[in-house]
Every structure is written in C-alpha cells, then in structure tokens.
Amino acid sequence: MKHLGPLATLLAGGALAATVGGLSVRAASQDSANTTAAGQAVTAGGSTAGTGTPGTGNGAGTSGATPAGVAPSPSSPEQGAAASPPPNIKRDYAGYTRGGAATLAIAVRGDKAIAYLCDGKVVESWLRGSAAEGKFTLSGKNGARLTAYDKNGKITGSVSARGLSFDFTVVVVKRPSGLYRLTAEVRGARLDGGWIVMPDGRQIGVLDTNGTPRPAPSLNTSTGQVNVNGENVPAQEVQP
C-alpha cells in the first residue's frame, strides 16, 4: 500500500469525532438531568435562582464567566449606566412596563435594535428598527410601535401593540439576562418563542406553537436550550 498518510489523517479525524461525540452524548444526558432541577429553581421565584444555577456540574454553559457581573438584586440596576460601550458590541436592556403588567427587552447593536414586549401569558410582540443617535423608532406586526430615548444609559419611552399601550424604562442587563428567541420546527410543529431573562433570574416568555401562544417553558440560560414537550430545542440570544 502506498500513500497511507491521507488515509491515516481521515481515520484520525473519524476517531476524534467519535470520541468527542461520545463525550457529548454523556454531557447531554447529564445536562438533561440538571435542566429539570434548574427549571424548577427558576420558576420557584427565588431571587438568586438566575445567578446560582448556571455553574452546576457540567461546563457546557455560555455563562461561566458572567455570574459575577449579574446584578445581585432588582434594586441595583440604577447604577447600571455603562459609560459609552463600543458601538459594535450588543447591549441588552430589560425591565417592566409601568404598572408591571408586561416586560420589555431591547437588544441594541450600533444603530439597530430589536425589542420584545411580553406579558408571559399571551401578549407578545417583536419590534425592529433604528436606534440611531439615542432615538429608538421600532415597529412590528399589526401596527406595533415603539418610540423611546436613551437617557443616561436607560431607555425610556412607550410601546403599543395589540391595542394596548405601555410606558417603560429599561436598563442595561448583563448575560445571562437579556433577550432570547427560539424559532424551530419540531415534528411538524412550528415553534416561535421569546424569553426575557431579568437580572433576578426571572424569565418572562411566550411560546407560539403553530401560532397559538402559551406561557413559555423555562429556558436554561447556561445551555441556551428549552425543553419543549420532552425535546431539547436551542434558543438563541437575539442579535440585531
């Protein structure tokens, strides 16, 4: 036999793929055990649930370095006005609308923004638009509108969707808090979900299944996955 080198390279790649694949199967099965526990902690409403769970056991998360940066309590975002971050880095803002009936999150990068208004039950609206020079002008389906201004690092304005209108002020939040979206097709069902993860770890989300909204199952912020009827489906951070 001649020219064995290339074949050896391919076989080494195959062996490596099998090894990493095997380890991944193990990581995934360990994680699905942890996900159940993490989900319960978040829905139980403990104020530290969001900061406490990501580190558990497996290292597959995207948030290993972030817990220190998470605001320890809902009262601290007052000081969150970061001094002019680099324009091309994404910033996430989140907060309750006045009166607390709904939550709003806005992801901003450069002069583009995507916002999500959600009450965690059935009301939800995605909006997209411009964030040029501190003025936010976003629009969404069915005439949804958002106008707001950046004031000292907070975004203040009003949003209207589905005949309802809300005033709001949202502040900068740090990963794993922020805005997540899931769009997927699982066994013929069209899934479209949005999650707002608040600084205290609380999650507000709605998951549409073939257009029917219902409260979203909890999102595992360390893995980015959501358990939908026993299937693990990945959600993504919203990127304007």
């Binding site: 290339p6 490596l16 380890l23 990581a27 497996n58 995207t62 699982v186 693990n232």
Partner: protein, 188 residues
C-alpha cells in the same frame, strides 16, 4: 452525467480517477447534512475548560483551524511554484501536510459540537450558509485526502479540491467565529 468505464481499470489516468474520491466525498457531505437536519439538536455537548462557554471555545478552535488553513494556502502556492519571490525550503511539503492535519483535526471537535448540539439550520442566511459550508468542507476534505492516494490525476485536481476545502473553512470561520467575535467581543 456521462459514464466513465475507465475508472474501474487500474493504471488509468485522468479525471476518471477522481470519480471514486468524489463519490465518497459527496456521500460524506450529504450524510453530515442529513444527520444534522434529522437529529434533534441537544443544545449541549462536551466543553473545553478555560473558556467562558461552548461558543467561545468553538470560535477560538475554528480560528486556530483557519490560521493553519492560511498556512495551507501559502505552502500550496509555494509548492506549485507561485510566490517565486520567496525561497522554497526543502521542508515545504512537511509544512503543508502537517498544517493540513492540524487544521482538520482542530476543526473536527467544532463540527461535532455544531452537528450534535445545533444541527443543520436554515432559519437565517448566515446559519444556512454556515450549515452548507460545513457539509462542503468535510466533503471536499475527504475527497482531497482520497484523491491524494491516486497517481496520474490531472494537474488541476489537487488545487481545485484544496481550494474548495480552503474556501469552505474560511467561509465557516467568517460565518461563525468572525460573527461571534464581532457580536460578543473578542474574549476567551
């Protein structure tokens, strides 16, 4: 497609020799795509210590791979007598072989994570292009490795296959690592 009866006969030369490697490479590309599409993504796979998350680990591994791919391009140009303003060291072949092996082996764990945790996705153009390029790269690489074992190939075959693999890998890097670094910042 025309039939190429000469391919089966040993000792033949020419483009027909590429048929076998091309078929195997195409099968690899299709198998990866079909697996990625049909298997339900887990969202989780094994992670490397020292990185803030799986995405960061993948972005850096893929960058290492892309760097060696650039070494591949330069050493290949050199071996084909281009870049004549540079001296040609006697060990250029060794550099080309080993940079290729490293680029490939470093890319494999990244691809396993992509396939196993995320799958073949088409929700947005970047993700669709990335998924397609992933299939292309491993198909082209397999074809090239198998083609290397044949003598008497047309002169254009290895540059073409190597170019396809290089294009695939750089495209993969642009649609993932570069995107990741430009949206999340450059961090470990």
């Amino acid at each position: 497609m025309t039939t190429t009866p000469r391919a089966a006969r040993p000792g033949t030369t020419g483009a027909a020799l590429l048929l076998g490697p091309l078929l195997v490479g195409a099968a690899v590309a299709i198998a990866l795509g079909v697996y990625g599409r049909l298997h339900t993504p887990t969202g989780v796979a094994v992670n490397l210590a020292g990185f803030s998350g799986a995405q960061a680990a993948k972005a850096w591994l893929a960058s290492v791979s892309a760097l060696f791919a650039v070494v591949q391009l330069i050493s290949a140009l050199k071996m084909y007598g281009k870049l004549s303003f540079l001296p040609t060291p006697s060990w250029i072949g060794v550099v080309h072989r080993w940079s290729g092996r490293i680029a490939f082996l470093v890319a494999v764990p990244v691809a396993v994570h992509c396939l196993y945790a995320l799958g073949f996705q088409s929700a947005e153009p970047r993700v669709l292009i990335h998924s397609l390029l992933g299939c292309l790269f491993f198909g082209a690489f397999t074809t090239k490795m198998l083609a290397l074992r044949k003598d008497g190939l047309p002169g254009w075959s290895l540059p073409l296959l190597g170019g396809a693999a290089f294009t695939g890998l750089i495209g993969l890097w642009l649609t993932a690592s570069f995107w990741f670094f430009s949206t999340s910042g450059v961090h470990l």
